[in-house]
Subunit: 473 residues, 2 copies
Amino acid sequence: MTADAETRDAKPGADVEIRAEDGRLASGFIESVASAISSNDAARVRELAGDLHESDLGDLIETLEHDDRPKLIELLGKDFDFAALTEIDETVRVQLLEELPPETVAKGMRGLDSDDAVYILEDLDEVDRAKILDQIPALERVALKRSLDYPEDSAGRRMQTEFVAAPQFWTVGHLIDYVADTDELPETFYTIFVVDPAYKLLGSVPLDRLLRARRSKLLSDILEENPRTIRATEDQEDAARTFERYNLVSAAVVDDGGRLVGVLMVDDILDVIEEEADEDLRALGGVTGDEEISDPVFYTARSRIPWLLVNLVTAFFSASVIGLFEGTIEQMVALAVLMPIVASMGGNAGTQTMTVAVRALATHDIGGHNARRLIRRETLVGLFNGVICAVVVACIAGLWFQNAQLGAIIACAMVMNLVCAGLFGILIPLGLERMKFDPAVSSGVFLTTVTDTVGFFSFLGLATWWFGLGGPH
Amino acid sequence: MTADAETRDAKPGADVEIRAEDGRLASGFIESVASAISSNDAARVRELAGDLHESDLGDLIETLEHDDRPKLIELLGKDFDFAALTEIDETVRVQLLEELPPETVAKGMRGLDSDDAVYILEDLDEVDRAKILDQIPALERVALKRSLDYPEDSAGRRMQTEFVAAPQFWTVGHLIDYVADTDELPETFYTIFVVDPAYKLLGSVPLDRLLRARRSKLLSDILEENPRTIRATEDQEDAARTFERYNLVSAAVVDDGGRLVGVLMVDDILDVIEEEADEDLRALGGVTGDEEISDPVFYTARSRIPWLLVNLVTAFFSASVIGLFEGTIEQMVALAVLMPIVASMGGNAGTQTMTVAVRALATHDIGGHNARRLIRRETLVGLFNGVICAVVVACIAGLWFQNAQLGAIIACAMVMNLVCAGLFGILIPLGLERMKFDPAVSSGVFLTTVTDTVGFFSFLGLATWWFGLGGPH
């Protein structure tokens, strides 16, 4: 650790390093907090964890034993920053919120920006949510409820309802004085929004542009017209693409009438992008649902079993293809030894294509203009790599079983299966997308069914035909 | 499309919609541009594409036919925004840069922020890069070369060397006047950095904090001490984690002596996060290397073949396990029909565990404190789901082959394989990470080898033992 990093993490009053070199919370620090909690030493807990950044505090909560979590919050008292709850896994958060008294939660949430408060409230069930909302002053409650009325995963849910807006006839100087004199502005803002009396968005003024302008200028002279806006009902993923595409730091959220209702900040978008990439990745790995690393055994097992059962069905389907050739295998057991090779190589090649296709669909990199080219490319890549693998597999299999004809047959089957793998590796995700299914979730099952079936059928079928063996029953 | 979205995308002078409803470039727009290019109509090209945002322009370049790309840049002339080159695939960018005259590129790059210029230059080979650098004025050239000296994928490569820095004895008013009066400030900035005469970073002042302060205040009174900084040599992925963790919008980049050398912006970090998630996802799907959607067949095939050959080796290894039981299979062909089911279910369950583990390692969610718990959890999940799958598979297989004992044997093998899948699904990524290998890249090969081997061996071995069949040769 360099001197600089040390300075950064050292905290006044605390004698313990917070983070280890790899960026994880240091185990010494965790133990100090845990022991202070178990001895009910509020002063020591506050000294150790009272000034932590919300993100460090969140990590700390996740790391602590289940029973220590509410105790930590209790011991920290008013030093506990409820924003930390936005940084922890949903399972842990929901559990914790159910254990804390609603008054404590309501009081803690009043200091939060509305997007954080909504984030914390949205996963609770109706009853728990109502209990907490009841404790919140009417004005804030209405704002929170309005956000919660937007659909899940919409921009309206992620937006912050605190923002700085000004009329177009204000001067730069007037606005700067207003900002300096007003206490209840949002904690952080990067842009001033210019609105008409009905809050219809007229334009935006980034702070750096404001600073560069003379005090006497009118806002209407320096505003950026038609800034990129996000509709409140828009999916958060689409909003994230807009942020990425146009390198935004914050964006106005407007209702269907073009009225300013909130602002989306880039730090929330970072989380959205990470979440969405995560979802695709998990879906491709057969982990659907919102499983988290902190979930218990039963919950995890239950969320994973549906996928396994679906795969079991397709596995029986492929097995039934092998069953057609029982007579052939009886006469030539070498076929049973070699057949999984053809199937598994098809699966691997197909997965390569599918991974690229699914990701490109997610980032909108495939469209009408290049779909045909990609289908052609993937099929040719399958042919090309099929031939290379075929040569290798033919040599090894031929030598192993001292049978050149067997080598030739497995080579042909390999080429067929890898061409199919490339073709279906792209056609399946494209088809699912067109039918409005999520290609990340279900492409894999269909693809493996194709590559297993084609793999077994082509290899065993060719062998039956060529060697004139038992043949299909 | 709502009225608002229309206003947003409608452009003065252009009579064509730029983006279709799904966010992709509209095909009508692409065709208009292509036909204007083919008829060498510079005025029409400028009218259509002259005012495009760099990101739209980048998408347009990618979508155009290969030969039309340099023509577009030529026809746009000085209206072409070279920042668009940062928005396109590396393959397309490198090709395009090689085709354009170095003087044109050098001239276009002079208008760019240094991070964009470095991004464009870094993928070129030495010779091409030198040719372009030679055309750039000395001062800018030195800054670019310094950035290029930092290791690939380091924060130093991604940082912008233009920033606003001020001494601590300046007042807020002095700084605001300076900003209003100075022309060559960076295009966008969110923070003022406070430095000593040797450019050692003393603190930072976010613009909103600056606006809230009285003009007479000293910067030293309002600066945020010990702001989060990034070391220039730090990996961009670590920098991204810091941005995410502390919700940063920009961060000072310092050298080993704590001197301010640049600033990292959140929009570059968005790209890094997307890239890294993409890399993990592709690696898990067996797509290593930097393959892009625009790559030609041969390049794609070549980049994918190594992974297929590695898998071919492991497939032969599993086949050799089957080979041990040729005698058994000869006597009971049903085993050959059913054995892929056991192996494939192990592969699927193991992949679920591995996916979760690899992603948690990437986001630093697994550490010393929870590794043991996770190993225990995954093994128990394997046991739990193994039992469920075993019951299902036993019933179907027993009925299919009218053999209850066969059903019992496949059930036992299934449980064994799913427990191993869970255990190794987490141990393999953890082990690879500890040995400093990238778990996303190679966990899959090892895991499939384990689940195939255990699947075949347990099922065929149990059957051989129970039915007293041929046994290993």
